[in-house]
């Protein structure tokens, strides 16, 4: 046969909104595959007997399984295959760093382009949501055990789904008025439309999970009270890394200076980008400077652009190679005209009489010897300071552990940064019956790692409550 195997074909490109157009709206940037594209891309998969891709997935999605179904045009079945182990496929298909999780391990990656696993995941999940019949949840015998989940980010939602599927009665307590954690307050609409997240969260209701918003654990009930008078048999703490970090430089309390959390929360959760329809305001700067080089910084910079900034500068103290953001996000940001000021450290913010931000003093850096993290340490160049006019600054240099649970839970062991100490294999903490996972254990990480931690803890909680070892892989 002379026909070349589809795996030799190039990867199907992702259609996108052109940069000039998309900076004027908050609609999603990638537009998604067509069914034909999806089937063509799926045909590239070699259906490996020992798929390496799966080993890179923290929730062990049956990747060749769902791709095989996609190739046959069985999109709804393909999506259901993913949902056996992943409650948020449309979310993960959009925000997971596949290039460092599954796609990097794909055998095709060795001699060319890996299968576009993420894009296919996104396609089938969207297809199922829009065209599939509503999934009926087969009833499972109730165990009579009650589990409280604190926090509704990816870790909490995953743990809740897994436990509900095993017959436990699950209540999720979320401090904010919407469910989803960073997915709803942090990640912008143009990367993850809220209606898609909402639809995936609704699935948890179908599983019988009780979802309670505006419930701040530690204030309303403490963990001790949940396990005592409130009658829960176990608790999973998944409160994320929600404490904003600032630079500790002069001028940080000027008007116009935001933490990335505040800037993104105003724009996403409170929908300040639709100010007029929604009531929460946000400062729309003409010249915006975002400090940092991670995904959060990219999100903030791209949001500022869409809010109407003429110039958005991203100040990062190391060089491009050290930037922790996903390559795709850096690429998108550059396409949208975000100006990267690398090896640049803001040392002071300057205000006017009314306390409004008007400028930033920036210092040039150079790279020295590698530090503990293996990245070359940035060193300040003396006498290199210069001032740049800016009217909004967003500080996106990372987040820490919110102390609320720690402060109200005696006996809960935390490390020196305040993150909860939990067993890697089970999520168990220093208190029997209390488990933890996600960013509140690891520090800021990824959606899928948080989901993996939720899954691990669900299995351990099931064992703790019933004495039964959970089936391997897959809760269903």
């Amino acid at each position: 046969m002379s026909e070349v195997h589809p795996s030799k074909q190039p990867r199907q490109p992702m259609p996108e909104q052109p940069p000039a157009e998309r900076v004027t709206n908050f609609n999603e940037v990638p537009l998604g595959y067509t069914p034909e594209q999806a089937m063509a891309e799926a045909a590239r998969c070699l259906q490996c007997k020992n798929p390496r891709c799966v080993t890179g997935c923290p929730v062990a999605v049956d990747i060749p399984g769902f791709i095989g179904l996609t190739k046959e045009g069985q999109f709804v079945e393909a999506a259901r295959k993913i949902m056996e182990t992943n409650v948020l496929p449309a979310v993960c298909g959009r925000v997971c760093p596949q290039e460092t999780q599954c796609e990097i391990l794909c055998v095709l990656a060795r001699r060319g382009e890996p299968v576009a696993i993420g894009r296919l995941e996104r396609f089938v999940a969207d297809y199922e949501r829009e065209h599939g019949p509503r999934e009926t949840v087969p009833p499972v015998p109730a165990t009579g055990k009650r589990v409280a989940i604190v926090g509704s980010g990816p870790a909490g939602l995953t743990c809740a789904a897994d436990l509900a599927r095993r017959g436990h009665s699950v209540t999720v307590f979320e401090a904010l008025h919407e469910l989803g954690g960073v997915l709803v307050y942090g990640i912008p609409e143009f990367r993850l439309p809220k209606r898609i997240l909402k639809a995936e969260v609704e699935r948890l209701r179908d599983l019988g999970v009780d979802l309670q918003t505006s419930a701040v654990i530690g204030k309303l009930d403490t963990i001790e009270e949940l396990l005592g008078p409130e009658g829960f048999d176990a608790v999973f703490v998944a409160t994320g890394a929600g404490l904003p970090k600032f630079m500790d430089i002069p001028g940080e309390n000027l008007l116009g200076v935001y933490s990335a959390n505040e800037f993104l929360t105003r724009s996403n959760l409170m929908r300040a980008y639709e100010f007029g329809k929604a009531d929460t305001p946000i400062a729309r700067g003409k010249r915006v400077m975002v400090i940092g080089g991670g995904n959060v910084a990219m999100d903030a910079a791209r949001t500022a652009k869409r809010l109407g900034a003429e110039r958005v500068i991203l100040a990062y103290r190391r060089s491009r190679e050290e930037m922790p953001a996903r390559a795709e996000e850096i690429h998108h940001a550059e396409e949208e005209g975000i100006e990267f000021h690398l090896l640049t450290l803001p040392v002071k913010l300057v205000g006017d009489e009314q306390g409004r931000l008007v400028g930033a003093v920036l210092r040039k850096m150079e790279l020295g010897e590698p530090d503990e993290s293996g990245r070359r340490r940035p060193l300040e160049i003396p006498g290199s300071d210069y001032e740049s006019p800016v009217d909004v600054v967003v500080v996106a240099i990372g987040a820490g552990a919110n102390p609320l649970i720690k402060d109200t839970t005696p006996g809960l062991e935390v490390n020196k940064w305040g993150y909860i100490v939990a067993d890697k294999a089970t999520g168990a903490t220093s208190i029997p019956g209390v488990y933890a996972g996600g960013d509140i254990v690891t520090g800021s990480a990824t959606v899928i790692e948080a989901m993996g931690a939720g899954r691990t803890a669900a299995a351990a909680i099931h064992l703790y409550l019933t004495g039964e070892a959970p089936e391997r892989d897959g809760a269903s």
């Binding site: 008007l255 505040e262 409170m270």
Partner: protein, 289 residues
């Protein structure tokens, strides 16, 4: 009263206690049981609405209700004022913030300016409970704006009222009343003041001269109210604090009031815009109907 038929966050009582100043009792049994003096809730009135922090003025754990008092000044509080008994808030999270540190100081003085008198009430109650001799001062622009005189009066051994225009009580500011008390030789060992920022600053300036420990309850702009955004940051003793979790009460002698006032005005233009928008929509809505 049976409360079985009530929904969470439902308004069970509404009173206008002064022009544009409302007293609401809302059904939320758990917050009613948990709240302590000095704490607050964050509410949302409707979809798309702001998150608004309001002090928990009191609660009735038996009925499962909490009391909120607010002045309908901005867009969100005007929306809130439009609700009636039987309506429910969309969201109410709490009790947030640190409770007031309560001890027996001997003689304590609580000062409320304008509708800031409302947040003073639960603290007065707690101070009273701890055995303090209590002096209350209420300040307002004019007689009609003096609120909670009876409620605060019943907790205090002595109550002074000061109005700017002299229409009721002493003519002058709360600081004049406080200075008079000090001049009389009243041995005030602790002052707690809540009200407009300039008033809290003036009280703190006065008590600083006499070395009287003074706490003030700050109300910067907030978003989440759980320590997640840092929007509520204030400067105390040169250090940045998050008012929603480290406060809202701080040592008045260490607060940077100037910064607070600037930050409180951050969105003045936007507030005007949204108020006008809504006014416009309502008029349009009436015409459509």
């Amino acid at each position: 009263m049976s409360t079985e038929h009530l929904r969470q966050n439902q308004i069970v009582a509404k009173r206008e206690i002064a022009p544009k100043t409302y007293w609401y009792d809302l059904y939320h049994p758990k917050i009613a049981r948990k709240r302590q003096a000095g704490q607050f809730v964050v509410i949302r009135v409707h979809e798309g609405g702001e998150r608004v922090p309001l002090t928990l003025v009191g609660s009735d754990p038996d009925r499962g209700t909490v009391t909120l008092i607010f002045q309908a000044v901005g867009h969100s509080t005007m929306e809130l004022a439009r609700l009636e008994v039987g309506d429910a808030l969309l969201d109410m999270a709490g009790p947030l913030g640190r409770p007031t540190h309560i001890e027996n100081h001997g003689t304590a003085c609580v000062i409320g300016g304008g509708y800031g008198t409302a947040p003073v009430l639960p603290i007065a109650e707690a101070l009273r409970g701890a055995g303090n001799r209590l002096i209350g001062i209420i300040g307002a622009r004019t007689r009609g704006l003096v609120i909670l005189e009876k409620e605060l009066g019943s907790l205090c051994d002595r109550l002074e009222v000061a109005t700017d225009d002299g229409s009721y009580g002493r003519k002058g500011f709360v600081t004049d009343a406080l200075a008079a008390l000090i001049a009389e030789g009243t041995d005030i060992r602790f002052v707690l003041a809540v009200g407009p920022t300039p008033m809290m600053r003036a009280v703190s300036e006065l008590t600083r001269q006499y070395g009287i420990p003074t706490m003030v309850s700050l109300n910067p702009i907030m978003v989440d109210g759980t320590g997640m955004c840092g929007g509520c940051r204030v400067e105390v003793d040169g250090q940045t604090k998050f008012a929603c979790v480290d406060g809202p009460e701080f040592d008045g002698h260490l607060v940077n009031f100037d910064l607070l006032m600037k930050r409180q005005g951050a969105y003045r233009a936007e507030e005007r815009q949204i108020a006008e928008n809504y006014e416009h929509c309502r008029i349009a809505g009436v015409l459509d109907a």
